[in-house]
Symmetry: C3
Subunit: 331 residues, 3 copies
């Protein structure tokens, strides 16, 4: 168990009080038991934190009066808490290198690193590669030629279609489907039938991406669908073929992207947003929940928020909503 001093050093905090107190884990103030580290972002909650069962408190400002628990003083307590959690949270057995369960089918040309763990009833196809310390949960299907980097966590029942490439430290939650066929057809005017357009491109997922439960990401039709480094995707999101998602993008739950959507770095997309094909969300744009973006539309402006369907700059949209409400009252 690390001491307050060790945790403080790891997260760059200054200590007030007993540096030798041992820290066992992390918790919220309400759920803390002895040994837990808690954090506050609002000084008003300091008293509550001190009265809790927590062993130590992360906070931005040192209090006027002395505290009977050790305090870790740091500029961004929430960020520091997240970092402390990396050291302190209950050890996962996932990455302990349990090896390959005897029930797993690994085709002869696949390469699984010695330190990887593959749980029961997972299929690893021809020429697939799984990197060091990566964990593949039970019941996954790793298609032909799929490449998964190091230190990844692939939760149970994830299906990865052939040819998909995943970087290092990716986390993919249960039930996600990666690299499925895009939705593309050509209507035959003679009989009204939809002829399947070839969906033979690939999907590339860069380092440090996290993908939520039951999310589906299609591979490119002829080209590549790409998810940039550090992008985080919530549950039940749909990403169509040929989309190009930048780095450190946030996609909240149930977002849906048609084909060939471009999202630049650092954009933040709210829950249930829908984006039409070939639209472009430029760097740092914020899209409010349930907003809808028309095909080919370009939204621009770092830190500029858009909302509504069709999405407008937030200020403009709020004015319209206010005008509409006033109008309704007059009826």
């Amino acid at each position: 168990m690390p001491s307050v001093r060790e945790v403080a050093r790891a997260i760059g905090a200054r200590v007030l009080g007993d540096e030798h107190t041992e820290i066992r884990g992390i918790a919220s103030i309400a759920s803390a038991t002895s040994g837990d580290l808690v954090f506050i972002e609002d000084e008003k909650r300091l008293q509550e934190a001190l009265e809790s069962r927590a062993a130590a408190v992360l906070t931005e400002k040192a209090p006027q009066l002395s505290a009977h628990k050790p305090l870790l003083i740091v500029a961004r307590p929430r960020l520091a808490f997240a970092r402390a959690a990396e050291i302190l949270k209950p050890g996962s057995k996932n990455t302990e290198g349990r090896g390959i369960h005897p029930s797993v089918v690994v085709l002869p040309t696949a390469q699984v690193a010695e330190t990887a763990t593959v749980d029961p009833w997972t299929f690893v196809g021809d020429r697939a590669a799984i990197g060091h310390r990566t964990w593949i949960g039970a019941g996954c299907v790793i298609g032909e030629g799929v490449s998964i980097g190091e230190d990844c966590k692939i939760y149970p029942r994830v299906t990865i279609y052939p040819g998909t490439r995943i970087g290092n430290r990716a986390i993919v939650h249960a039930g996600a489907v990666l690299g499925s066929d895009g939705f593309g057809y050509v209507r035959d005017p003679e009989n009204g039938r939809h002829v399947k357009f070839p969906q033979i491109g690939t999907l590339e997922i860069e380092d440090d991406v996290e993908i939520g439960a039951n999310t589906a990401i299609d591979r490119g039709a002829l080209e590549v669908t790409r998810i940039g480094r550090g992008t985080k995707i919530d549950n039940l999101v749909h990403i169509g073929h040929n989309c190009q998602i930048g780095e450190n993008v946030i996609l909240a739950a149930q977002v849906g992207f048609s084909g060939s959507v471009v999202v630049e770095n650092n954009a933040v997309i709210g829950g249930q947003v829908g984006v039409g094909e070939h639209a472009r969300i430029q760097e740092g744009v914020l899209l409010g929940g349930q907003a809808g973006v028309l095909p080919k539309k370009v939204l621009r402006g770092k830190g500029v928020a858009f909302w509504g369907t069709p999405a407008k700059p937030l200020r403009e949209y709020l004015k319209s909503l206010a005008a509409l409400a006033k109008l309704g009252r007059r009826e």
Copy 2:
């Protein structure tokens, strides 16, 4: 096969006609074959029901004239039909206590009741507990320390993350993911990266909850996500971390809740509704399909309907829509 008399007694109905007719199953009027019980809610359909191949008819009012089929008279025919179905519907083999299929992996510290059924290729983790007469379908993953009560039906390919607790008589449909990580990050301003906030809370699902296919419910970040007794959740719903859903709540398909949403008892949430974090839907509120609720918003009023984004009282919203339509026509 039970007789009309036995069915009537079980559902509290009065019988007109032959009490000894045997009832084999339930059906709609259109699909009924001999031996089936059907129901009508509208007296106008009585003639049609009598002319069908059904063996007996559930109805609210006794007809003026005599009928050539036995009638079961009951105050709420639809409710009575649903109850009769419990006795009459095609027997499920699920709960017959087939035991544990030889392919199943049950870790040594797990406890599976003798009368439970566990189908092929299901994984039962350390210290997991599965109650009496519960059925676990093929290809499920029951994580470490998960507890599942009695008489539950867990359909195939459900993933339950470690620590999740499920009460009695729960039904979970195929592909659902329970207890996955919430979507929480802290942005590091120095490099723009999103550091994962710890997601180490749990998920508690109380008795008599039903959960639809491919629905995803996240566990709490530091606390508990809770789904109250008797709540029914449709397909492809997303419930974020720390949500507190009350009892007998209805969540239609594709609803999405951000983190820390509170829904009180008996609320009814329409399909594709989205709710922002820390919003509160008070007891008995009705939310129309596709409505959107802003973060921290409180909606109140038993039986009061809200609609639109941002959600307004239905009456007010309809007035705005009417005004807007009028305005459009004037353009």
Copy 3:
């Protein structure tokens, strides 16, 4: 490897240039390597296509000047390209008739065609039938009495509930759930609890249907849910009980249908559209993304577009939006 002449004959194209050039595959202009067939829909891209590494170009019009690559001239290049892909795309090993993997559980009364392929850890229930040349991926659950036709591709981890019937040449992507219980309850006014209404109908999926990843389609309550011939359904779509979907319908990602919705032939439904119960979308109607259709509403008109919630004819809705924007600017 087929020659330009053979490909041209198969798709009904006229050849300009060397008919003996061999064609290895298909590609986009940007990704083409030697041996690939590419297509253009816009004459302006011809030069680019000719300068690419492609072996031959599909185009509508013969150019004025001579080209140094063989050209395949055809009325609809995109459609012709899709058809050429059927012959040329990387051969799938799926339908090679690998037979039944030894880990598969096939109950004794099930019938699997000799030429079918069933991958590891798939369960085939009592009286299920799987047709010739059909591929069932790893980890699927084929319930009791399910019937799957010929030449189908069922990707990994699909769950098919008992009694579902699927025609020929269907494609079902990973994680889809077919035939799950509908969402139907009867509220007991005495205690506020929701009693499950019987969900004992079936699901019928006709020939040539494609179903996206993690989509969920419920079976009928007492009747049949039907998906018509040639209809294409994208990822994460929800279709409730008793829906009747016509032929050659397009349902984009994340569409949600309540119970008993009727969609007639050739309708096109945009992403994230929600439709209330018993609504009817008549033949050839187009519904814009995120539109919402009220319960029991009828939308009519071949080729007529609707948008918004509640959905209005597009022209009318755009006028309202314009009026609203003007109003907002005046505030």
